[in-house]
């Protein structure tokens, strides 16, 4: 009687477990893809940059899939538009996590958008590779799900430090977008200038969607500074340069944040962009100068082959590097599970288009975010072309 009961038990047990085992069989899994979420501003006031990052991310995905994908599966990119709006960025993160169940996200361009999405990462426990945002707070806030491959403004300022003497800045004004990025950048570069003995003149802000910056320019013009630090998206940089030309503002203009797409400025701002200096994290004009020249060259060639606009390259590489980093973490984790992917981020060591990507701890102890140390460059628009400034070419 007892034996019979055991026999029935075994049958029931096997009936329950068989389908489960079947589901775990590799054949069934092979049909599925590994999902990677991407949040970018694809519409709204900073849409150019977001679209370029998306194009780069698609190249990253296709290259990885051509090499056989990850964990024996193909990588699928799930793209959400944050509409250049922090509120939408939080919604997009939630949608990717809850509905699509992505194990990792890449995003969300602007610092304010990234900061708005970050609480969702912590709430659901999903890691995010931050590909563009520059505000220090992104990694200082104590969110252990954040891994940034773009440089914070402080790091950019340090990158500029060695050229300060050559630039000959005595006093500088600031014009920045009124977001976490713009305000953070003013602090970082302001500190650098004060440390080196240069003065900080007027500090002006503009709303992200603003189109008329004449008031700010008139105010800057009334001052006596020799340099203007400009921090915003390529759309507003275009408008500021044009309006500065209308008002005959004579300043050495330096853009920060790496989102100035200088080739687009040459096209859309024309003469007004002449002489301006730009901090960048990719040099598509001289790919051989990048840490991995071959990879950079291949990326530029693939970008052109797809018919993407050349001016988008300085932004587009971020998408490639972000997806590369996210997928590498999945590979190391051995499974597409958010917590495992987060833990694996700390072991990531890959060569991106920008250079080596490897995370160091940043932020309050015990809740550190990851921060990589990207390569930083400076270029100048000369005679309608991109050139390395003479002082940078020397070094």
């Amino acid at each position: 009687m007892r034996r019979a009961a055991t026999g029935v038990g075994v049958v029931i047990l096997s009936m329950v477990t068989m389908p489960l085992l079947g589901a775990l069989a590799p054949a069934a899994w092979a049909q599925e893809t590994v999902k990677v979420g991407l949040i970018q501003p694809l519409s709204g006031s900073v849409a150019a940059s977001g679209n370029y990052v998306r194009m780069g991310a698609e190249i990253g995905r296709d290259w990885i899939n051509a090499r056989g994908g990850v964990l024996g599966r193909q990588v699928q990119l799930l793209i959400e538009d944050n509409k250049s709006d922090p509120k939408e960025a939080a919604t997009a993160a939630e949608k990717l996590i809850v509905r699509d169940k992505v194990p990792v996200i890449v995003g969300a361009w602007g610092s304010s958008m990234t900061l708005a999405a970050m609480p969702k990462l912590e709430e659901y426990g999903v890691p995010m590779v931050v590909e563009t945002s520059s505000a220090a707070t992104v990694t200082k806030r104590g969110n252990p799900w954040v891994f940034r491959i773009s440089p914070p403004s402080e790091m950019e300022a340090v990158g500029l430090e060695k050229y300060l003497k050559d630039l000959g800045i005595k006093q500088a004004d600031f014009l920045a977008v009124n977001t976490d990025w713009g305000r953070g950048s003013v602090t970082a570069f302001g500190d650098l200038l004060k440390k080196s003995g240069a003065g900080v003149g007027s500090v002006e802000f503009m709303e992200q969607a603003a189109t008329d910056m004449n008031a700010q320019i008139t105010k800057v013009k009334a001052g006596s500074a020799d340099t203007l630090f400009l921090t915003t998206s390529v759309e507003q940089i275009t408008l500021v340069l044009r309006q500065a030309q209308e008002q005959r503002l004579v300043r050495k203009i330096i853009t920060t944040g790496g989102s100035s797409s200088p080739s687009q400025l040459i096209k859309q701002a024309g003469e007004a962009a002449e002489g301006t200096l730009h901090i960048l994290f990719f040099l598509p004009w001289f790919p051989e100068a990048m840490p991995d020249g071959k990879l950079a060259k291949a990326f530029v060639d693939e970008w052109k082959k797809r018919g993407h606009p050349f001016e988008g390259l300085t932004e587009g590489f971020r998408g490639h590097d972000g997806v590369l980093t996210a997928v590498e973490a999945i590979r190391i984790a051995g499974k597409a599970e958010p917590k495992a992917v987060r833990d694996a981020m700390w072991q990531v060591s890959v060569m991106g288009v920008n250079g080596p990507i490897k995370f160091e701890k940043d932020g309050p102890a015990g809740k550190e975010s990851g921060q990589s140390k990207p390569s930083i460059f400076i270029v100048q628009i000369k005679d309608g072309k991109i050139a390395l400034p003479s002082f940078a070419a020397k070094k």
């Binding site: 150019a48 603003a210 004449n214 008031a215 105010k219 030309q245």
Partner: protein, 290 residues
């Protein structure tokens, strides 16, 4: 002093465009009692229409403006015929919701058609600024200013002096009586809405080359247009014209002498103050019910 002059000039140039945006909106509200949330989208449409004929068909820059007005006017007439005509007599809230829907649909349509990356419109004007003593300004902005004034005055004359204008005013004062006098009411509704949309499209075609084109550009324009209309008094034509310039100058001086971070706030502070002191706007007339 030089700085103040430049600020005043900037404010005047900016304000004239606000006026142009405001009159189209106030016209549709004052005459039709329709709160046109899609106003900014006709602005966007005008800008892209000008861009399309300039770059696609390479027509003359000065011909692109009237073409854009025609496109905007036709689109406005189409929307009126399709969406507002069936709602004749419906409450103001119903039409408002329909207009919000139209706004979202048009904006996403623009995004689908043109993509999110900003476009720049080529102009025949030199980028070298005109220097007038201590101030300077680009030739393009002078052109935009003069054309805005011409359009505002033209719209005013159309309303005040022509048979059509009289018919429009009569219709919206008293539908039945106007109909008895032989005015074709349905046609007047369509023409009025088309005029409002055409004015918005004109603003878009004029300002597109000054700024950049992107699908959500209408949001800012709409926001400014509504500010101007509230400042000038709902449905008040002269109020919108003067309100636009006031708003432009106030924003400019606020950004120049108070704080550029609060530039948009300056405009809203003025509107709040206006609503407290003169709730029906600058040039309120007794018969208007806001």
């Amino acid at each position: 002093m030089d700085q103040l002059l430049q600020h005043l000039l900037n404010g005047l140039l900016l304000g004239s465009t606000y006026s142009l945006l405001g009159i189209g909106l106030t016209l549709v509200f004052g005459l039709m009692n329709v709160v046109n949330f899609a106003h900014g989208e006709f602005y966007t449409l005008g800008a892209y229409a000008a861009f399309a004929v300039l770059v696609g068909l390479s027509v003359n820059f000065f011909l692109a403006l009237p073409l854009a007005i025609v496109v905007g006017g036709l689109a406005g007439a189409g929307c009126e015929w399709l969406l507002l005509r069936p709602l004749r007599g419906a409450s103001i809230d119903t039409t408002m919701l329909v207009m919000i829907g139209l706004w979202i649909a048009l904006q996403n349509g623009e995004l689908l058609a043109w993509g999110g990356v900003a476009k720049s419109v080529p102009t025949p004007f030199s980028t070298t600024p005109l220097v007038l003593g201590p101030v300077s300004v680009s030739a393009l902005r002078i052109f935009v200013f003069v054309t805005s004034i011409v359009l505002i005055v033209g719209a005013h004359l159309l309303l005040a002096r022509t048979r059509l204008g009289r018919a429009m005013r009569a219709t919206f004062q008293d539908r039945e009586t106007a109909a008895l006098m032989g005015v074709s009411i349905e046609r007047i509704h369509t023409v009025t809405f088309a005029l409002g949309a055409g004015l918005a499209a004109a603003a878009g075609a004029l300002l597109g080359p000054v700024f950049l084109l992107y699908p959500s550009m209408g949001d800012l324009a709409s926001q400014k247009a509504f500010s101007v209309v509230i400042l000038g008094g709902l449905g008040n034509f002269a109020g919108a014209a003067v309100g636009g310039v006031l708003l432009g100058v106030a924003e400019e001086l606020g950004a120049g002498y108070v704080s550029s971070g609060y530039r948009d706030a300056v405009g809203f502070v003025i509107i709040v103050a206006m609503l407290l002191v003169r709730p029906s706007g600058l040039f309120a007339r007794a018969e208007r019910v806001g």
